[in-house]
Amino acid sequence: MIPAIQSELRKFLSTKMWWVLAIVTVGYVGLSALSTAWALGWLLTDGMASAGAGSEDVGMITAAMGDYHGMVYGMAASLGYFIAAMMGALAVTAEYRHNTIAVTFLAEPRRWIVVLAKVVAALPMGLILAVVAVVSALGLGALGFVVAGDATHLGDSSTWRLAGLQLVTLMLWTAIGTGLGLLVRSQVGVIIGVLVFTLLLEPILRMIFMIFESTRSISRFLPSAASEAAAGGESAYSLVSDTGTVDLLSVPQGILVLLAYGVVFGVAGYFLRVRRDVA
């Protein structure tokens, strides 16, 4: 089992995929955090002042904005999760694409060990991307607040709790991606699948579920909702909720639901795909 995990990590680190995705993460998460922090920071300081708002108005609006620092710093997971999933998936589909999966199965013919090793190895792989994402969100987000003249709240314990939870969440997403890759096997299929599901299908499903009282509790179990719960409760969906808040699971529940997705995809991948002949 340990050789298999070591082999998976060497495979992962010996191609350029991980650092390409790390750069994408810095760009997407970091620049989003930077621009959002800058805009919000400016709006609540100079922007308000130049519009002639009094300190009472600013206080009221700031309160209505809620924890916008958390929203910016939470972008590592809320924006970065599909990159983590993609990374886990591509690590597997690259093996099928270049047929190195046959070499792997020759080295370890007990395929369930290979599957387990891939899912376990996804956690440290995910940690690399997670650190990049969290550093980008906190670093460039804080830079945005500084430039706008707002407080950074970097020293707050809530910020560091958020950072830690996001690391865990992104590691789990990499494992979920690994499971998906085992199930889909096709490189193009998994890229399109992850994008369509996370950016299109799931948001629609979630909104539909949130509209009806009877399905609202189910919406908490959708991957993005579980992810928000696991990452500390920041949700972009509060804007579309009639109560202004989103019903989410607790942090441990969120982590367990994400873990369950990873396990379900991995087990399904093993039984439906991995055991087949490699021709």
Binding site: A4, K11, S14, H98, A102, L106, A107, E108, V278
Partner: protein, 298 residues
């Protein structure tokens, strides 16, 4: 000893490997021969648990491949001609396999040097020629210093120098007591290297034994031309020769007698022969003869 025991694999109506049984002796180089599509690759993949047989088993000293702990330390395999990530360097390709056989970086470099890739360790496999990929595949196969090697068409894509090298490589392995099973669609490719041959066609065994037993099956083949077709055919029937139409008009292929016997018999029967040409009856001809028919001698 590798034992292939009543191995069968079907793909829909096609029987790719049909009740195939043979064994591979230790310490020898065995050529696993057959035309393209005969089922060689499928057989080797069933031996190594990549493909599940519909029936039958393959065992290495009594154990199936999947039951051997750290199989790479006992059985070295070069089946996939092109199973490399193009962005990975040669050394990294071996390092990724190294944990499975307990090899360190030094061993990986040593093996790369041994197959003649010492100068290309840091080069990406995407930039490798077919011959270099073949050598890297062999490096991966011997990484765990196995006592058995299974090689699928290892000569493919190699330049003449590479072909000479791999022949020496296989001989050296056998001389050090290792067992080598190497497949090829051409007998001539491995003729100088192998001790034994296993020949299959249409998934069935057609011959298994030493090269000498194959030579014993060497039947003379002669091309004759004559305008007296009926007379020639009745002559062939009288002598129990196998006769078939040749490639040219009025030409026939006769198997069994030597050219001299045919000439004498034709003269005695007053058949005028326009051409009487002995076919170079090398082992390749025997091989073709065996694999063209639907499984002749066993």
């Amino acid at each position: 000893m590798i034992v292939f025991d009543h191995l069968t694999k079907r793909y829909g109506p096609l029987v790719a490997v049909d009740d195939l049984s043979f064994s591979v002796e230790p310490g020898k180089v065995t050529g696993f021969l057959g035309p393209n599509g005969a089922g060689k690759t499928t057989t080797l993949r069933m031996a190594t648990a990549l493909i599940r047989p519909d029936a039958g088993t393959v065992s290495f000293d009594g154990r199936p491949y999947a039951a051997i702990p750290q199989p790479g330390r006992h059985i070295g395999i070069a089946l996939e001609p092109n199973a490399f990530h193009p962005g990975r360097t040669a050394l990294n390709h071996l390092l990724m396999l190294a944990p499975y056989v307990g090899a360190d970086k030094k061993r990986c470099e040593e093996v790369l040097g041994f197959v003649g890739l010492g100068d290309a360790t840091g080069k990406r496999v995407g930039k490798f020629s077919l011959g270099m990929r073949g050598r890297l595949n062999l490096a991966a196969a011997i990484l765990g210093d196995p006592e058995v090697l299974l090689l699928d068409e290892p000569v493919n894509g190699l330049d003449p120098e590479g072909i000479r090298w791999i022949r020496q490589f296989m001989r050296a392995l056998a001389e050090s007591g290792r067992t080598v099973l190497t497949s090829s669609h051409l007998l001539s490719e491995v003729q100088q290297t192998v001790d034994n041959v296993v020949i299959i066609a249409h998934g069935k065994l057609v011959h298994s034994g030493s090269l000498a037993t194959l030579e014993a099956g060497n039947v003379p083949r002669t091309i004759v031309s004559t305008r007296q077709r009926d007379a020639l055919i009745s002559l062939a029937q009288f002598h129990h020769w196998r006769v078939s139409a040749g490639t040219e008009p009025h030409s026939f292929l006769i198997e069994g007698p030597s050219a001299g016997e045919i000439g004498a018999a034709a003269g005695a029967s007053h058949i005028i022969l326009d051409q009487l040409a002995s076919q170079s009856s090398d082992l390749e001809a025997v091989f073709l003869h065996l694999t063209e028919g639907q499984g002749g001698m066993r």
